[in-house]
Amino acid sequence: MDFIGAYAPSHLTFLLEGFWITLQVAFLSIVFSFAIAIVVGVLRYAKIPVVSQVLATAVELIRNLPLLLIIFFTYFALPEVGIKLDKFYAAVLALVIFEAAMLSEIVRSGLKSVEKGQIEAARSSGLTYVQTLWHIVLPQALRRMVPPIVSQFISLLKDTSLAVVIALPELMNHAQIINGRNVNYVIPIFLLVAVMYFVVNYGLSIVSKRLENKHA
């Protein structure tokens, strides 16, 4: 093991460049998948005929597939039907599809956890159904959803590493490139990479716990 060689300044900046791509992919995927998840969750909660059944089936199918398969699909299979994406956006699209399905389940069960009396009270005080959803149900549900949503975000950040299979230049990919130079770098580099993921994810989980205590 060669810790000094592995942690050469050029290697460290190279890893940080990879981590920057990881964070970009994760951030874009979080924003889009969360937005889609709220729409899907609300539509399913509102039990609109046909729409909610179609969405339920789609969510159930996507949730039960490996993310890796979806990444391969968006990068290798979509070009066959004329949709060409570069590595970055293929990874983002795959993550958005998968995580939106996961998050929409969290949104739906969060909405379901709001007591019926709340809705009845809001409706009888003259709010329309949409107003009730927007002003009464959603704000309360979102607060309860914070812990599971943050842990889903942690999963998402970890899952970006699967984009290593399409050679997206993110953290895992850059780690493997350095590992390829000298076998003595492998263990030190993996340790450092593990610590990098750990610091961000553990930080997120602590924030989540703080929020949970605040709202409880």
């Binding site: 159930e60 490996p66 398969l69 391969f72 699909f73 895992m172 003595n184 993996f190 994810n201």
Partner: protein, 217 residues
């Protein structure tokens, strides 16, 4: 339209991959259940150092990507002179990773059992270990079954990382077939169907168990 001839021409490869995915998932399930139970008991143990080890393991492993754990076994161990086959390295990686999640599931199950149960068992003369084994764990298992089912579904899906290290699983053979036939779209649809054969029934079963458990309370 989807070309089914690929499915029949390469049926043996699809089935071999499917079978290896099943094997890897089952082996990792048994391994991670055993390892996870040990770490769960560590985490709630009154003995400080054990408690510390359990917490460190769970928190560290849960916050790093699965593929990193698998690479540690597949690329990291050979750097130390220990070479494993891709299938073994992948299954070990899956086991170590999943054990952290199962440990948390079991810990939550054990802590869901009212404290009075332990106190009653202890005051009727059982030792801590006996009370754990005969009173707490059997009750905790019941609470833990639905979330364990979810962990198993995740395990089946996660086993696809074996494909990254040529672990001869469904994902690997899917890639191989699409490289041989130059057909990607249809092949990945078939691969998806094979995964769904495993995960969908499990998912429906878990949903059913969850509803039943919620009803019995």
């Amino acid at each position: 339209m989807i070309d089914f001839s690929i499915l029949f021409e390469h049926g043996d490869m699809f089935l071999e991959g499917f079978w290896n995915t099943v094997q890897a998932s089952l082996l990792a399930l048994v391994g991670s259940f055993a390892l996870g139970t040990i770490f769960a008991i560590f985490r709630i143990s009154p003995i400080r150092p054990l408690n510390w080890i359990g917490t460190a393991y769970v928190e560290f492993v849960r916050n790093i990507p699965l593929i990193l754990v698998v690479f540690l076994f597949f690329v990291g161990l050979p750097a130390l002179g220990i070479v494993l086959s891709p299938f073994v390295a992948g299954t070990l990686g899956l086991t170590v990773y999943t054990a952290a999640f199962i440990a948390e599931t079991i810990r939550a199950g054990i802590q869901a059992i009212p404290k009075g149960q332990m106190e009653a068992a202890r005051s009727s003369g059982l030792t801590y270990n006996q009370a754990m084994r005969y009173i707490i764990l059997p009750q905790a298992i019941k609470v833990v079954i639905p979330p364990m089912g979810n962990q198993f579904i995740n395990l089946v899906k996660n086993s696809s990382v074996l494909g990254v290290i040529a672990g001869l699983d469904l994902m690997y053979f899917g890639d191989l077939i699409s490289a041989e036939t130059f057909v990607t779209f249809d092949v990945y649809i078939f691969v998806a169907c094979f995964y769904l054969i495993l995960t969908l029934p499990l998912s429906l079963l878990v949903g059913h168990l969850e509803r039943r458990l919620a009803g019995s309370r």
